[in-house]
Subunit: 317 residues, 4 copies
């Protein structure tokens, strides 16, 4: 099913599981995909910034996309196709859609500065991938160093009918969500799904500002699913209670550079993937770092009241 | 008392209180200084990045420094003297020390890139302020976009006997503390006080990695004092329990751009300063933002078990 | 006489002459000012990026401004007031206008990225310096890393009646001049003086695209005066012949970092200032660099057909 | 023949010729390759920054490399393999060497800041492409925003026996060449070929500082060949005379963003390639820009005393 502006809920940003020797770990792709589906994710985003995509051969990337799509059944799969060149972007986008992806995600190249440069870039990208592919606009200034104002985002969306979703991870970004929703109220922006990233660090309030869900790779997507649901049901305190219990780990995982190592370490501990290995060159957790994560996990187990999560974690570790 | 490498504990980064019409609010400088002293801060840092220093006339800046120093009695006062030009840096450093400051703080200018450029810059700065002024090296890549490796920091410290303290706010930075402490163990780095910033977002583990305390402006410096103390006493779980209760607000205050508005809003609510006004041009909290902070404060009041804080907050609000 | 949109011709960017021991060289300020006036400059810009302004004490800066203004008589003096803080900007702007300056020049702070951030910054700056001071908008992306599109420049100019001149040094920038002049033709931009910088590296064509003159610090402002004049008279080949003769040196002086050292070295050789000293910390020319400049000067002397320049140079060297 | 530290002379940076409809123009690849060989180039660099490499499909890139290598016979062909990901870098490097390339060229990724980050990156790159492939280190801060000091370059070279050449295009960079040659004299750096880029803007003095030749894409590589030769023969004035005649055009072509459009326009005018088309998205010359280049070419034809060039240009236009 193609991505639309009504796509919502929790989209897990999937890491790429590797064996310790650097080969892609297909069995872990399957178990990870199963896990995302079972805990209630609505979709999966593959080959994003956290997917170690630049270390994959072109064919490997397509194989992974295909495998996840087949395994995920009714989940919507989004494929990151950001690339320094439009040729590579087009190839991957076509291959992804051929394999059954729901849409693609495009980030701006880091050199863009002025509003005109940004809108021109996306106009060219849309020309390249064609008007029929639904796509997600990624707004991630902290890592990409491209700053898009709400007005620029509105212009991009209005110019491209295929742009149906915003991956929002500006920081700070709460007012940005409010401004965009305001644009929709005053009729100057058409309907747009907004899923939020930033490792979920502000998910509690982002939902209250009008986000449609989360798209991030935090190692407990099951918590994301619940926070999104509780928030939509208006159970504010419960949403915050659950969120706050996870915040110490969310914050720890949010460290740039080492974040992926934390994430894979926790996912391996939980039994979602077999190994926390990254393909070279990768970052890794020091012994002190691992001990800190273990301590955070032990504290989390005490504070998280939901039995299923406690059990799952106990089983997996 | 001059700053030394043994200076430790909690140094509050002080905002500059203004009246709503933009004048410096001297009475609030006094009440804020008293508050810092009463809750157990060991020092105060004025005219830092969060002190709206660039909006102050030269004479205003010196007047504020002088007022805080006189009022703070035995606390150590550090004065931020970072400036685009060495002439302004020297003038302010001399004036600050004349007024009785314990030391000055120097950040690198944003254009520095290579290791050599960075070490040369600090060599020149030390030449300008002279060898007798104790100074704090500020390492804040997220805002200053200058990246100093542990080796570069070691070189700066070894070359300048006056450099007695590191304001550590690299992010992620836990391994950096461990590496610097390792340098001291292997004898390649002389004793150095390390206080950590980043709005306290990682204070819990920074203390465990070897930090000597906190130097940041979080609106509950009384919590910082306690976490630093608990951590030094080895009461790990208690330190984390207290820290975790504050983390939702710490995280909220850490938002770049709007952070100072949050901080002043909370400090005004607590009665530490009279108004949350910023001198123009300043940022401000939207109505939605204020409501979010209020909600976080109400949740914090429930979770923070220490009666004194609860009372203090209740009294102030 | 105040700066207006009709101000045109050649404005020399003046270096600040120092004695070898670092003191301001007042006699050289006088001889340099006399020189600029005698060769036909229409104005002088002081305390610009090449004026070592950040190394000057506040009082020194005002003394220099005052001295140049008195000495220059009927020339229009522009004072660079760019500063990281609005307080310092306002103080210097008021002091400059009190001393008789024709206007001030304001550059954006390096952190600005989006169109909105840029226009907001200048709106605030104008609020600070007031509506009555004529000012020059400096557009210098290579050094300031702020990119202003023609549309953004138009918006700034239209919003501030005091903005009467653009110091154009975008690179490449020929099309930018054409676009801005096009805006004027279609009525969307009011009259605006455009003087070009970039060390004159493109002055030949910038004049043909519609520039009103040059504002740069090339060590032969007498050549700038002539190229501007020849170009305005439609004597294209002559303008290019003269320009091309100087291009090897223009290009050499345009090297970032070492450019000021080249400029002061040549000006000292020509007898315009007494010494090529920079106040610490400064750059300097290596022996090889000096020999290269000497070689370029000897070649220039052969190629420049105008007897007056040849004589002047012969006298000075 | 593999690249060694003795490789020297003029290496043309080749653009990728396209038909106006965007297809690769193979016939022009042949004529361009023939031209480079006939005018005396020692090598050709393909898929560099100016080769529109990111717009090429992977197979297209390999086809172009193969075609140039076969056609160029005894010239050394260097293939740019810089890529955001090591997987793509390795694939292209292997394919290039299999096709008979003399070596590959690697630029740092733009995010690198500290000396350690830079040296680590190249250590990983060498691990990926293997120790047997000779490679060129590209030092281009203006475009790549990575600043490598001479000490960092020395460390990279000393750690990797495969690094036999530096493409020097730091700006300013004359002292850098002198420093590196000084390292060789004091024995701390092994022999290294240094070819200079920057569109040849400083080629005259770079040769005198110790460069082994030019590696750049200026539209008159025949001039580069002659300047390099004259300079090596010690015919200084002749080298500068020839260089200065071209400097107005060199300077014009050096404009970032529009430079490739100028280069292709001139090469098409000279008959070296059939069309100045760029694959989308590309830049193009305005009518005013074309007229300016035409004017510069007409002036160049008058000033360049060498009959062969005059004839060649006359024939081609």
């Amino acid at each position: 099913m193609k991505l639309t502006h009504e796509s919502a809920g929790t989209f897990a940003i999937a890491p790429t599981p590797f064996h310790p020797d650097g080969r892609v770990d297909e069995r872990s792709i399957d178990s990870m995909t199963d896990f995302y589906r079972e805990v209630g994710c609505n979709g999966i985003t593959v080959l994003g910034i956290m997917g170690e995509a630049p270390k994959l051969e072109a064919q490997e990337a397509i194989d992974i996309v295909t495998r996840v799509i087949r395994r995920a059944r009714d989940l919507q799969i989004i494929v990151g196709v950001s690339a320094p060149g439009f040729a590579a972007m087009r190839s991957l986008a076509y291959a992804a859609m051929d394999a059954g992806a729901a849409g693609v995600m495009i980030a701006p190249v880091p050199s863009l500065r002025t509003d005109d440069q940004i809108t021109t870039y996306f106009r060219q990208a849309v020309e390249v991938v064609g008007p029929d592919i639904p796509w997600v606009l990624q707004d991630y200034p902290l890592t990409l160093s491209v700053q898009m104002t709400p007005k620029v985002i509105r212009q991009i969306v209005q110019e491209s009918p295929g742009c149906v979703m915003l991956k929002h991870e500006d920081w700070p970004g709460l007012e940005k969500i409010s401004t965009l929703r305001g644009f929709q109220k005053d009729g100057s922006l058409r309907p747009l799904s907004i899923l939020t990233g930033n490792g979920a660090l502000f998910l509690d309030f982002e939902m209250e500002r009008g986000a449609d869900g989360a798209m991030t790779g935090y190692a407990f997507p099951d918590m994301l699913v619940d926070v999104v649901r509780l928030s939509k049901e208006g159970r504010r305190d419960e949403a915050h209670d659950l969120f706050d219990a996870h915040l110490p780990l969310i914050r720890y995982e949010q460290q740039q550079g080492v974040g992926l190592a934390v994430r894979k370490y926790v996912m391996a501990k939980r039994g979602i993937i077999a190994s926390d290995a990254q393909r070279k060159p990768g970052s890794s957790l020091s012994a002190a770092g691992k001990a800190e994560v273990d301590y955070l996990l032990s504290r989390l187990a005490r504070r998280d009241k939901r039995a299923d999560l406690a059990t799952k974690f106990a089983t997996a570790s």
